[in-house]
Symmetry: C2
Subunit: 452 residues, 2 copies
C-alpha cells in the first residue's frame, strides 16, 4: 500500500486516488449538503474501507463516510498536520488543581508518519492543549515522568510513579491523573492502590485504545472524565477511567484492584471483574455506583508504601505443564509465585512435589483462577484440599494480575514470611470482594424447590 | 461443623438439629401444603443457609427452602443414599446410537462422604441410569476411559480420547458424547477438534459445574442436551455442551476451538469467545446458530490425526517478567512457545534477545493476547512490529488455550518447521474468525461523521 495514502483501502482509497490528494494535503470533502475541510491523515490497519479521515481546524479528527456522491478536492499542498500546542489557555484560579503525570502509551502517542506505526511521543502539555475543555474543569499542571510503552514498565516504574503522585499530593493538588498505556494499566492500577494508602484525593489512571490523531480516538473523552473525577469526585481512591461502551458517551471509574483489560482493541475494553465500578462520568456529572468508598478529605494524611519485591513470578498452568518451571523459579531465588490454576484453583498432581519444595524453601505460593470471573475454592475437590494442606494460599476472588502485584508488594513490605502472608490475605483496598457480584447471582441462592 | 450435618448452616442447620436427623437418614419435610420425603444429603461449602437437600425416590435431588413453618421429621434410620444403578431401561432399537465415553470430572463425580470433598467415581452407566430420559433419545452405549480430574489430563490423554472416539465412529455410532471435567474441557475440546478431522457425526464434550448429587446440579440438563445433539444435530463437528444461563433451560453447543471456561462456579461458565456458538438445545429442539458448519454425513470418512508434541509451553507475560524463563524452555528442548502477551500482542523489549535466541534455535514462538477478547495485531506499535520481524507469529483471534493445543498438534503432525508454521496459521476448524464478532461491533465500522 502506498505511503501516500497509508491505511486507505476500497471505496475510500478509490475516491482519494481520483482526487490526487496525499496524506498531509489540505482537502475538501463534499457530500450531500455538507462540506468538510481539513488535513488528510493516515488510517490504521484496523480501519474500514468507507471513511476518509481529516484533522479539522479545531484539532479534532473527523471521519467522513464515502458514498457514491462524495467528492474530494485537494485545496492545499502537503504538510504535516500541525501538532504544535497553542498557548496554554488562561487558567481560572478558582478551579480545583489537577496534576497530570504522563507515563506514555497510546493516549500520549501518535502515528509515526515514517513507519505508519504508533509511537509514544506527546507530552502532558500537548494532551492538555488538544482537549481545550480541560481549562473549564481544572487548573491543570503537568509532569512528564516516562515515555514508555506500558508493556515495558516494571515494578521499578511503579515505585517511581507512586513517589511522583505522592509528591504532588503532598504539594496540595486536588487530584492526580496518570496517563498510561492500556496494556498493563490494570497492573499499575493495582500497584498504586497498594502503594498509596490513606489517600486524601483521587488518583485516576487514564489511557486510550486509539491514539489521539485517529478518527475513533477515545483519548479526549477519557481524559475529560479522568480530570473531572480527579478534580471533584467524592472518593479518594485509585481508579481507572475508560469508556463505558463503544459509543462516546460515558466514562467508567473502575477500582484499581478489580479492573482488567478484556479486549485487544475496543474502546470499552476495560471491565470491573467480580465487583461494581466505583463511579461513572456521564454528561459532565460524576455518578457514584457504590456507597462503600473512602471519601475525599484533605485532612487525611497520605501513607506512601512504594516497595515491591521483583522476585515474584506469575505462572499460568496448562495441561501437561512441566513442574520443573516451578523448581527453576525457586532455584533462581524467587520469593513468591502466583499460580493461575484452572477452575476453582487447581494444578495437576505432577506439580505437587515441586510446590512442596517451593513452600519448604520459604517461597510464598498463592492460587488464582484462569477463569477470571468467580472465586477460587480449594475445599471442594481433593486436589484443591491437598494443595491447601501443603501451604498454597487461595486468593479468593482476586484477579491474577492484582494477586501478582499484591504478592510483590506484600514481600516488599514485610521481611517475615508469615507477616507477608497475612498482608497478602488481608483485604486492604477492595481487592477481595466479600462475596463477588457474579457469585451472588449463582443459582444456589435463588434455587426453587425442585432441581434435578 | 459436624460430619452428621455436613455443609448445613444457619436456619437450615437449626431445623435439622431440632429434628435429630443426620445425613443418610430418611426424612419428611412439611411446609405450607407440600410434603417431601427423601434421604438427607450433605451440602457443599458453596451452599446457602436456607435449603435442606434430599434425594427423593426417583433419584433426583430436591432443595427445599426452610421457612419459619417448615417441619422436619426423621422417618427412617441412617443409610447411604442408594446409588446402585437400576436395570438398564429397555432399548428402543429404532433410535440413533450414541456412545458416551467417560473421562472423569464433576459430571461423573459425587461427594466423598468421608472428607466432604468431591471425587470422580461414577461410571457412564451410572450417569445413564440417573437420567432415565436418555432412553427416549438414543440407544446409549458407554465406555469408561479414565476417571481423572481434568487438571490431571495431559496431551497423552487427548491422544487416547481421540483414538477411542474414532474407534466408536468407525464402529458406526451416530454420535459420541465425551464426559469431562470442566477445568480443562476447553483444551481437550480444541485437541479433539484438530485430531478428529473430516468428522461424519458430532462429537459432544459435556461436563457439570456441580456434581449430580447436589441440589443445583447442571449434570442432567447438560447430559440430555449432549446426547440429543450427538444423536440428531445436523452438524458433524466437535462441540462443548453446557448451560446457557444459570437457569435450567437451554444448553449451548460451543465450537471446540472457540470456547473458554470464564467462571469458577457458575453453571453458565462456558462462553464462546470472538464468535457465535454453533447451536443450542432448547425445549428438546436443536436450534442452529450459524449456517457455516460441516453437515452430518455418514458417507464422510473420518481422518484421525492424534499426534501432539508435548514439548510446547504456554508463557503468560507480566510486567517485569524474567526473559530467562524463555531461555530455560529453549535449553530444556521445547519446540514451541505460545506467549500470552498484553493488548494487541506485546511483551517487553527486555525479552527480545531471548525470543530471538528461541527462534534461532528453531523454536516456534507464537503470540496471543491475555485480553481474551479481540484479535492480536502486531503492526500497530513498534514493539509488535519488531517481534514480527524477529519471527514471532501472531495468532489472530485464536484463544490462548486453543493456540497452545494447535501448536502442540502442528508440531505433532509436521517435522519440518515451516510446514508446522503453515499448519499453525491455516484456519482448519474455525479456530480463527475471519473477523471476530466483537471486533465487528467495534466503532470503526459504524462511526458517524464526527468523532473527536
Amino acid at each position: 500500500m502506498s505511503e501516500k495514502l497509508l491505511g486507505y483501502k476500497g471505496k475510500a482509497l478509490d475516491v482519494l486516488l481520483d482526487s490526487k490528494a496525499e496524506v498531509g494535503d489540505l482537502i475538501r470533502i463534499t457530500k450531500d449538503e455538507s462540506t468538510y475541510e481539513g488535513i488528510l491523515i493516515p488510517r490504521s490497519e484496523l480501519g474500514d474501507d468507507k471513511h476518509v479521515v481529516i484533522k479539522i481546524k479545531s484539532g479534532y479528527n473527523v471521519g467522513v463516510e464515502v458514498t457514491s456522491i462524495t467528492k474530494i478536492t485537494k485545496i492545499g499542498a502537503k504538510r504535516r498536520p500541525a501538532f504544535t500546542p497553542p498557548d496554554l489557555p488562561e487558567q481560572n484560579r478558582s478551579l480545583p488543581k489537577v496534576t497530570i503525570v504522563s507515563t506514555g502509551g497510546t493516549i500520549a502517542s501518535r502515528v509515526d508518519y515514517r513507519t505508519g506505526a504508533v509511537r509514544p511521543a506527546i507530552s502532558a502539555r500537548d494532551l492538555y492543549s488538544i482537549v481545550p475543555e480541560l481549562s473549564n474543569l481544572a487548573m491543570v499542571d503537568t509532569e512528564i515522568l516516562f515515555s514508555v510503552f506500558s508493556e515495558d514498565l516494571t515494578p521499578k516504574h511503579w515505585i517511581k510513579t507512586a513517589e511522583t503522585v505522592a509528591k504532588h499530593i503532598l504539594n496540595g493538588t486536588d487530584g492526580v491523573v496518570v496517563t498510561h498505556g492500556t496494556d498493563t494499566m490494570g497492573y499499575t492500577a493495582a500497584a498504586l492502590s497498594f502503594a498509596l494508602q490513606n489517600l486524601p484525593v483521587p488518583v485516576i489512571i487514564v489511557g486510550a485504545q486509539r491514539s489521539e490523531d485517529r478518527p475513533s480516538s477515545d483519548a479526549a473523552l477519557n481524559l475529560v472524565g479522568a480530570v473531572l473525577a480527579a478534580s471533584k469526585a467524592p472518593f479518594a481512591e485509585v481508579a481507572v477511567a475508560m469508556h463505558e461502551s463503544v459509543s462516546d458517551e460515558a466514562v467508567v471509574l473502575h477500582r484499581g484492584t478489580k479492573v482488567r483489560k478484556l479486549h485487544t482493541s475496543r474502546r470499552d475494553a476495560f471491565k470491573t471483574v467480580n465487583a461494581q465500578p466505583v463511579a461513572k462520568v456521564s454528561n459532565g456529572q460524576i455518578v457514584m455506583l457504590t456507597e462503600n468508598y473512602q471519601p475525599r478529605s484533605k485532612e487525611r494524611k497520605l501513607v506512601l508504601k512504594p516497595e515491591f519485591e521483583e522476585k515474584v513470578a506469575l505462572i499460568k498452568f496448562y495441561p501437561g505443564m512441566n513442574p520443573k518451571v516451578i523448581d527453576w523459579h525457586v532455584e533462581a531465588g524467587y520469593k513468591g509465585i502466583v499460580l493461575e490454576g484452572t477452575g476453582l484453583g487447581h494444578v495437576r498432581q505432577e506439580c505437587f512435589s515441586s510446590i512442596k519444595r517451593a513452600v519448604g524453601n520459604n517461597v510464598i505460593v498463592a492460587m488464582t483462577s484462569q477463569c477470571i470471573w468467580g472465586r477460587v475454592n480449594m475445599n471442594v475437590y481433593t486436589n484443591g484440599r491437598d494443595l491447601v494442606a501443603m501451604g498454597v494460599i487461595p486468593l479468593q476472588d482476586m484477579l491474577t494480575e492484582t494477586a501478582l502485584v499484591k504478592l510483590m508488594w506484600s514481600l516488599g513490605q514485610k521481611q517475615d514470611i508469615d507477616e507477608a502472608k497475612k498482608l497478602l490475605t488481608t483485604n486492604l483496598v477492595h481487592e477481595i470482594s466479600e462475596r463477588s457480584i457474579e457469585q451472588s447471582k449463582s443459582p444456589d441462592t435463588k434455587q426453587t424447590q425442585k432441581e434435578t
